[in-house]
């Protein structure tokens, strides 16, 4: 029997630009026949897991993701069961919630849809490692962050072969809520990453530190949106990466200041090291501003190693080839080093 598929438009820019640049969105085809993957999990004591629904006082809030509405509809249509998690009020968890997804080749699509509620005053680290090989896999996290609560989400992706990987996140943060995202993107044939973070509560914060390495014929398509609606909210989107071979990468980053977010601050920066002339790097960092009393900034540096740095390294006896190898590693290490010691197993990233 022929497999049926759904064609979706995901990773839409909040404001479109010239169509001929092909940056406005991504069109993808996902299978209608899907199943959840039974991942390995270490659940800290005091974190509740409920199958089939989101739980807690924020469960009715509709949360948008970086991929957008098309994906939401698709997940609903597949009937895949949501896994809900909730922390206890005011509790700071010493141990992270760890999940491992080691895919084994399958003809069916894989979907895991998680709903994480970080209750008021609590803090939790969630580590998700994705490895192995399959045709198509999708991981979606909906994160509800309560008052003065904090969630650190660490995602490490080391998929092999031609796996198509879809990683989508939607966040809603109440007063004083904080969302910290660390992503290390190292594998997969084609990867799509999305994040939309609604900074709705006064003083809520978003911080992202993302590192990617894309080589050979691999593709990476990203869309990160910080939606400032609350007063004195802050966002800091930091992305760095390396492109080699025929790699193609598209980074969309948006800071969206909505009317009423007085005192908000947002910044985003991307640093891309280009190794080969055959790479394609596309970057579009947006600032959208509907509020006067804000500060927004973005920057991008794209290209080869700075001549003066290269000269310095040569003067220390390091060849150009070695210098590039060092800088490639440094791009990734600078983000890995942000992960607290002991959270990852020793062999997680090599």
């Amino acid at each position: 029997m022929e497999q049926s598929n759904s064609t979706l438009t995901i990773n839409r820019l909040p404001v479109r630009t010239w169509n001929r640049l092909k940056l406005n969105d991504a069109t993808v085809v996902l299978p209608d026949a899907v199943k959840p993957y039974e991942y390995f999990e270490e659940l800290p004591e005091g974190v509740d897991r409920v199958k089939g629904k989101s739980i807690g006082p924020m469960s009715d809030i509709k949360i948008a993701t970086g991929f957008g509405d098309d994906l939401d509809g698709y997940i609903n249509d597949t009937g895949v069961m949501i896994s809900g998690y909730i922390t206890e009020d005011g509790r700071e968890y010493d141990k992270p919630l760890k999940q491992k997804y080691v895919y084994a080749d399958t003809a069916e699509g894989i979907i895991n849809a998680l709903d994480l509620t970080i209750s008021d005053g609590s803090s939790l680290t969630v580590v998700q490692e994705v490895d192995g090989h399959t045709s198509q896999a999708l991981l979606r996290n909906i994160c509800r962050i309560g008052k003065n609560a904090s969630l650190t989400l660490i995602q490490i992706q080391k998929l092999t072969g031609n796996t198509e990987f879809y990683n989508d996140i939607g966040v809603y943060a109440e007063d004083g809520g904080e969302f910290n995202l660390i992503q290390i993107i190292l594998g997969a044939g084609s990867s799509y990453y999305g994040l939309k973070c609604a900074l709705a509560g006064t003083g809520s914060k978003l911080s992202t530190n993302i590192a990617y390495s894309v080589d050979s014929d691999r593709r990476l398509d990203m869309n990160y949106v910080a939606d400032h609606t609350g007063k004195r909210t802050e966002s800091d989107i930091s992305v760095r990466g390396v492109l080699k071979g025929n790699a193609k990468k598209l980074f969309r980053g948006s800071i969206d200041f909505h009317k009423g977010c007085a005192g908000a601050k947002g910044s985003e920066i991307e640093n891309v090291l280009l190794i080969d002339d055959t790479v394609t790097n596309q970057t579009i960092p947006l600032i959208l501003c509907d509020e006067e009393d804000v500060e927004g900034a973005h920057g991008a540096t794209i290209g080869r190693i700075d001549e003066s740095l290269l000269f310095y390294m040569r003067s220390r006896g390091i060849s150009e080839e070695q210098a590039y190898a060092l800088m490639e590693q440094a791009q990734i290490d600078s983000v890995i080093n942000l992960i607290e010691e002991g959270i990852l197993e020793h062999e997680s990233i090599e």
Partner: protein, 469 residues
Amino acid sequence: MKEKTQVADIDRSLYDFRFEDADSYKVKEGLTEDIVNQISEEKGDPEWMREFRLRSLKIYNETPVPDWGPDLAGLDMDNIVTYVRPNTERMHTSWEDVPEDIKDTFDRLGIPQAERKSLAGVGAQYDSELVYHNVKDEVAEKGVIYTDIESALKGEYADMIRHHFMKAVPPTDHKFAALHGAVWSGGSFVYVPKGVKLDIPLQSYFRLNAKGAGQFEHTLIIVDEDAYLHFIEGCSAPKYNVANLHAGCVELYVGKNSTLRYSTIENWSKNMYNLNTKRALVEEGGKIEWVSGSFGSHISYLYPMSVLNGKGARTEFTGVTFAGEGQNLDTGTKVVHNAPETSSYINTRSISKSGGISTFRSSVVMNKDAHGSRSAVSCESLMVDNLSRSDTVPAMDIRCADVDVGHEAKIGRISDDTVFYLMSRGLSEADARALIVRGFADNVSKELPLEYAVEMNNLISLEMKGSIG
């Protein structure tokens, strides 16, 4: 609690005067093959141009309206008159021969005075026709050609025009480039011969007087090798309660080791849809310098583009956009690096006030052959009040590793501390804010000839003039 300033809308009395166009010749409203044929006949086009116009009309009808920029729903081509010939027998070379009302228009805009004082030549367009064109003898003696493009199309430069006309901006580029190809009328042709460096500028001024009309002038400039030209373009119109349309086209060819500076102070009335297209093709070692001030229009789509085709070709874009009440100004620039060691430097400021929307939009593309090229983009936006909106949408597409691309953008408000400091030195709050905004826009004013910098600063002062509330 933070103090708020209520700022008045611009006093446009300098530009907002009009004359009846009862004596002029017009085509019917709308856009049909008959109308395009009628314009072509009126112009006495060569056959290739008539065919070109009809081909462009077909492309126009097949091309969708842009879905990514400001809303164009208020622009109905069925209500736009695409050709209005003023009540004069073509072009004159003396202001004395220009009909009184038209001469009076340009007198009020200060064009003849500027010509006497600081320009090497002037072209003045009124609605769809050039009404005045003149170039100083000493400039003509150097072999510089500065004439209306329609005469050039039929005279000794006919082959040159045909070779270059809408080659940099083909009608397939976008819907309004196709519209231009179909109904273009008026505009200037400049040719600067090899080795000639003009140390004083040429200027064209475009005035759209007729209600509900469109202006579609074509500017074609060819600067040969080792030459220099500064070309200034100005535009304005009186305000009507119906939409007017400007869909001009500027094509610039910058030869080997030449420099062309193209300065524009655009101050169309606030019922104008300004859908203008400007593009420069730059050869080896050549340089295009864009200086662009956008103050007028109801809606603007304006992105001068530089295509750096020769090794070592350069572009600099310096722009300021000031969006006030009822304005949605989508401006910026595009650069394509097609050759090694090319460079682009983009520096823009945008200001939004009284509900105005300002968008900075750019693209920097570095293709496979752009080894050793550099690009630096800097854009800053200032929100003067809480009614307005400001977006930045910069895109970069890099397909060559051996390059250096940098981008930075900032957005924010006028600092209370700076206003307080200036007020402590004796300035009123309104004056302090106006001074800060003028300083913010000085990236453009310092690049303009003095007379134009003064005009721009006056425009900003008028925009910022108001009372403290």
